[in-house]
């Protein structure tokens, strides 16, 4: 006969305000098998927990039911208390009398009856509970970081410095991300590359970091502590063991009019190229789509069209026959740090949800550029050598108009969120412009100024007060080419005047979006993402760097628009989670998982078909001589999430979900 203890919590007034706790305790105390039943003001408190421990010891309880709040809140608390008194923690369960009862009803009589029913439900279930032991799975102490921008770099360095190996995968030929394209960063006006490149070099030189650039994640299998990630190393056409980064090949490439991605289309590059001088690794890549040799080969031309780079290379490092190759990395944790792209104002959008800005010419007006393009103009390594020259005629613009909130905060265009960084970088742009064009006039159209960081508001004031940027509060209705200038029709709501400005150049602060291809990567990792493609965090307040998939963490702008300091902080936070995970040899998992009785299993594999997590494996049952008797289903204890779908599906009742067996469920349901 069971010896169950029932503890009904008042939870202050939260439960007791609606439910008559004393009566509930009394009613449950009369059930067969219940030998102890009390009610108390705060069960989760130390004295409350002591009551449980005391009762377990004195009354030799073999089951504990705590009628209180949601198990999400305190199941761990009470199980730990039970374990402390020597009772297997899985013989302790909670009945939710708060979220499921007192918080949703007003009728005291009805709520109390319901509370008694809820209590009875758990009491009858717990009679069939079995003691369970936790499961331990080994953890591979290697991490994978996807994305080599500042967030990925920081996370990789933190984990590697913490003593563990990291594989850093980056799809571009070099790490550095968008930060490497910036000229100066706010609020300090530090040269971006100057503060970034030491980190990039550290990555390259770190003994525990394996850097895979020009590579992408192909597939992901496994689970926390044991991921197997297949990575595609795209063919560079250059043997990185032989190449010494001399750069001769680039000088001889005849295809030198290709719009440079690094310069956001404002500059040109060759088909064999290194994206920027400080690239890590400093090994070129051949852009096969634009290379004359490869285009000729694709057409089936017999004689090679070109081969100058190969002929020039003193190290014979160029290999036109290289193919994409694959490596599989075994890692215990993954950090997603894929960063952002900028929204385009063009008519064609890559998402059905987005519209372009027809009123701003759909991006076709010359000398209307976006924020990253302005950064390239301002960069010393940029297409104009750091001079602010407008793209159409290379003349120095004297009047530059900056528009904030392009795409952002614009539900009509499909983006309702704020991109967070634009107010700050526009102020920075006005300062850079003023520093370089002393007699220039910078005009900013804004709706609000969001400058909440340390030193941020002071920075914006500096742009206005010291660098004489003119800030007009209002959105721009439209702009069009008017002779040599761009006529901008805006408004200043503070003065109530229409503002028509003839600008030499216009800079659009376009919205931050997540990278293209994020949906497919997220699906490979089984992480969820929102309608904008931003990766979902596990909890917006308290679990910002975890995802809902155990073992996969997130850092940087791929989760939401974010500036550099916050991306770095988030990267270190994600790294600390990984280091926490790696601090154990074995990972403890709740044993509420399924297992198969292989003797009864008829090998129909319906369970395999319905399992959402791919946790069913086919096991060969062999006799003593190694001959195959049968194949049966088996549950992988590391992957199973305890959803119970297999148990519900199995026609021969050969699968049981520990903690929620058919016996337990029928007993509980029949009790009410």
């Amino acid at each position: 006969m069971s010896r169950i203890g029932v503890f009904i919590c008042h939870c202050g007034e939260n439960i007791a305000g609606t439910v008559d706790c004393a009566r509930v305790a009394q009613a449950l105390g009369e059930l067969p098998g219940v030998v102890h039943a009390i009610d108390y003001k705060y069960m989760c408190s130390d004295p409350g927990q002591s009551l449980i421990k005391q009762a377990i010891r004195e009354k030799h309880l073999d089951g504990v039911v705590v009628g209180a709040c949601s198990p999400h809140m305190h199941e761990k608390t009470f199980r730990k208390a039970a374990a402390g008194a020597g009772l297997n923690p899985f013989l302790c369960e909670m009945a939710n009398l708060r979220e499921h009862c007192s918080w949703i009803h007003e009728d005291r009589e009805g709520a109390t009856e319901k509370a008694i029913g809820l209590g009875r439900f758990i009491v009858e279930k717990i009679k069939f509970n079995r003691p369970l032991l936790p499961i331990f799975i080994p953890v591979e102490h290697r991490a994978l970081v996807i994305g080599g921008g500042i967030a990925g770099i920081q996370a990789a360095l933190d984990i590697a410095d913490g003593g563990h190996e990291v594989v850093l995968v980056e799809k571009e030929p070099s790490i550095g991300g968008h930060m490497s394209q910036l000229s100066e960063t706010f609020p300090t006006l530090d040269c971006s590359q100057c503060i970034l490149t030491p980190r990039m070099v550290e990555i390259r030189q770190h003994p525990r970091i394996k850097l895979l650039t020009y590579s992408e994640v192909e597939s992901v299998e496994g689970y926390i502590g044991n991921f197997h990630v297949k990575i595609r190393k795209k063919a560079r056409s250059i043997d990185d063991a032989l190449c010494n980064g001399c750069g001769e090949c680039q000088k001889h490439c005849p295809n030198n009019k290709i719009p440079s991605e690094f310069d956001q289309g404002l500059g040109k590059r060759t088909a064999i190229y290194v994206p920027f001088p400080q690239a890590v690794p400093n090994i070129p890549v051949i852009d096969r789509a634009n290379c004359a040799f490869f285009k000729g080969r694709a057409k089936g031309v017999k004689k090679a069209v070109c081969g100058r780079c190969r002929d020039t290379c003193g190290r014979h490092a160029i290999n036109f026959d290289e193919q994409d190759s694959f490596v599989t990395e075994h890692v215990g944790a993954i950090i997603v740090a894929t960063g952002y792209q900028l929204y385009s104002v063009g008519k064609k959008q890559d998402s059905e949800l987005l519209q372009g800005y027809g009123e701003y010419g759909y991006g076709e007006i010359p000398d209307v550029i976006d924020g990253l393009q302005f950064e390239r103009l301002a960069s010393a390594s940029g297409p104009t050598g750091g001079k602010i020259l407008r793209p159409s005629d290379q003349k120095e613009p004297k009047t530059v108009v900056f528009l904030q909130c392009i795409g952002s905060r614009d539900p009509a265009k499909g983006i309702e969120y704020c991109s967070k960084i634009c107010c700050m970088y526009v102020a920075k742009h006005t300062m850079l412009f003023h520093h370089k064009v002393h007699d220039g006039k910078a005009i900013v159209f804004y709706m609000d100024i969001r400058a909440g960081g340390k030193g941020y508001d002071e920075f914006v004031r500096r742009a206005i007060e010291e660098n004489h940027a003119l800030y007009l509060r209002g959105r721009v209705s439209r702009m069009y080419r008017n002779g040599d200038t761009i006529r901008v029709h805006g408004f200043d709501t503070l003065s109530g005047e229409q503002m028509v400005i003839d600008a030499d150049m216009v800079v659009l602060a376009s919205a931050m979006r997540s990278q293209p291809g994020i949906a497919s990567l997220a699906q490979k990792l089984s992480v969820s993402y929102d309608q904008h493609g931003f990766i979902n965090e596990a909890h917006p307040k308290l679990r910002p760097v975890e995802t809902n998939t155990a073992g996969v963490f997130v850092a940087g702008a791929c989760q939401a628009p974010r500036d550099i300091p916050d991306s770095v902080a988030m990267a270190s936070a994600a790294a600390s989670k990984v280091l926490g995970l790696f601090s154990k040899e074995l990972l403890e998992r709740e044993p509420l998982i399924a297992h198969v009785d292989t003797a009864r299993c008829a090998a129909c594999f319906h369970c395999e078909r319905v399992c959402p997590y791919g946790a069913i494996i086919r096991k060969e049952i062999k006799d003593g001589r190694g001959r195959l008797i049968k194949i049966a289903a088996e549950v992988n204890p590391g992957v199973c999430q305890g959803c119970g779908t297999c148990q519900a599906t199995c026609p021969s009742k050969s699968v049981e979900l520990d903690g929620f067996t058919d016996e337990q469920i029928y007993a509980a349901v029949n009790a009410i």
Binding site: K347, Y357, G358, G361, Y480, R487
Partner: protein
């Protein structure tokens, strides 16, 4: 093809040449117009500015009549009528309360099944035919296409072209052989029906439109609305004042331009009814015609 036809009040009086040229052109393009029987005014600006229900009920009467005539869609050459009819149709699909009220006012079962088409949308459908039948293509003629505000806005009501960078008129103009110019005032309001009540504003707005067309090198402005035509043609004299352009700019209905390319007689197209004479333009076209003939001869 057959299409229902709602002329609107001005096509029988102040914009007579619009109907004349339209009828001539559709005849040449094998399009039959079936006029909606006993149609009433769409209500224009004055109805929607003062009484929302009236602004839906008046067009609804026309739509009901068109339905009785089993018309699939009706052409409203006046951009304002087009916009009012299409807006009423849209309101009847979106707002159940208004639809119920209008239904009870009309007293008849009304399916709201008739589509409304503007002249830009209709002629865009037959640009291939225009091109083919253009015996006097207007080669080299530079035309500014003026949409005004009501032809393509608001988006949900007039969905046949882009609301910010439309090109339906340009494609028709190209089909006539003329060259549409790039200019900045294609969608800026001319002042619409306020020609009498706030004439000064209409002159101010029209002046900007004219100047922009001149700056873009246009030899004429093509319109698809009698109000726009009146404001830019009838009132052009006031615009060419002290601050004005000083140059005369013929204002052509799109049907007139198409008619000219089809080789129709200018008098048949009602071109002598304009206040700003298009004679210079006709001379230029004549010049083009002569050059073509010479070319053919040689």
């Amino acid at each position: 093809m057959k299409v229902g036809y709602f002329p609107g009040c001005s096509l029988h009086s102040t914009a007579r040449e619009y109907e004349e040229s339209l009828r001539a052109v559709v005849a040449a393009l094998d399009i039959q117009l079936e006029e909606v029987h006993d149609w009433a005014c769409c209500g224009a600006t004055s109805a929607h500015s003062t009484n929302h229900l009236l602004s839906v009920a008046l067009p609804a009467r026309t739509l009901l009549q068109a339905e009785k005539q089993k018309l699939q869609r009706i052409l409203a050459p006046c951009a304002a009528c087009f916009n009012r009819l299409a807006s009423a149709r849209h309101a009847l699909t979106q707002d159940e309360k208004i639809a119920a009220r209008v239904q009870s006012i009309l007293g008849s079962d009304f399916a709201n099944s008739v589509g409304i088409v503007s002249i830009a949308e209709l002629l865009r459908e037959v640009t291939a035919t225009i091109r083919q039948k253009a015996t006097s293509p207007l080669t080299g003629l530079k035309i500014a296409c003026y949409y005004g505000c009501l032809l393509v806005r608001p988006r949900e009501v007039c969905s046949f072209d882009d609301a910010e960078v439309p090109n339906s008129l340009e494609s028709i103009v190209s089909a006539t052989g003329a060259t549409p110019v790039k200019w900045s005032m294609a969608l800026e309001c001319c002042g619409g029906g306020f020609s009498l009540s706030i004439t000064g504003s209409v002159v101010r707005l029209g002046r900007m439109i004219l100047q922009s067309a001149i700056d873009a090198g246009a030899q004429a402005i093509v319109v698809a609305c009698p109000m726009c035509h009146s404001n830019l043609d009838f009132r052009q004299h006031a615009m060419n004042g002290r601050n004005g352009a000083g140059k005369s700019m013929p204002i052509m209905f799109i049907s007139e331009l198409v008619g000219l390319s089809l080789g129709l007689d200018p008098a048949q197209l009602g071109l002598d009814r304009h206040f700003v004479s298009p004679s210079l333009l006709l001379d230029q076209i004549g010049a083009v015609k002569t050059a073509q003939n010479r070319g053919e001869g040689a």
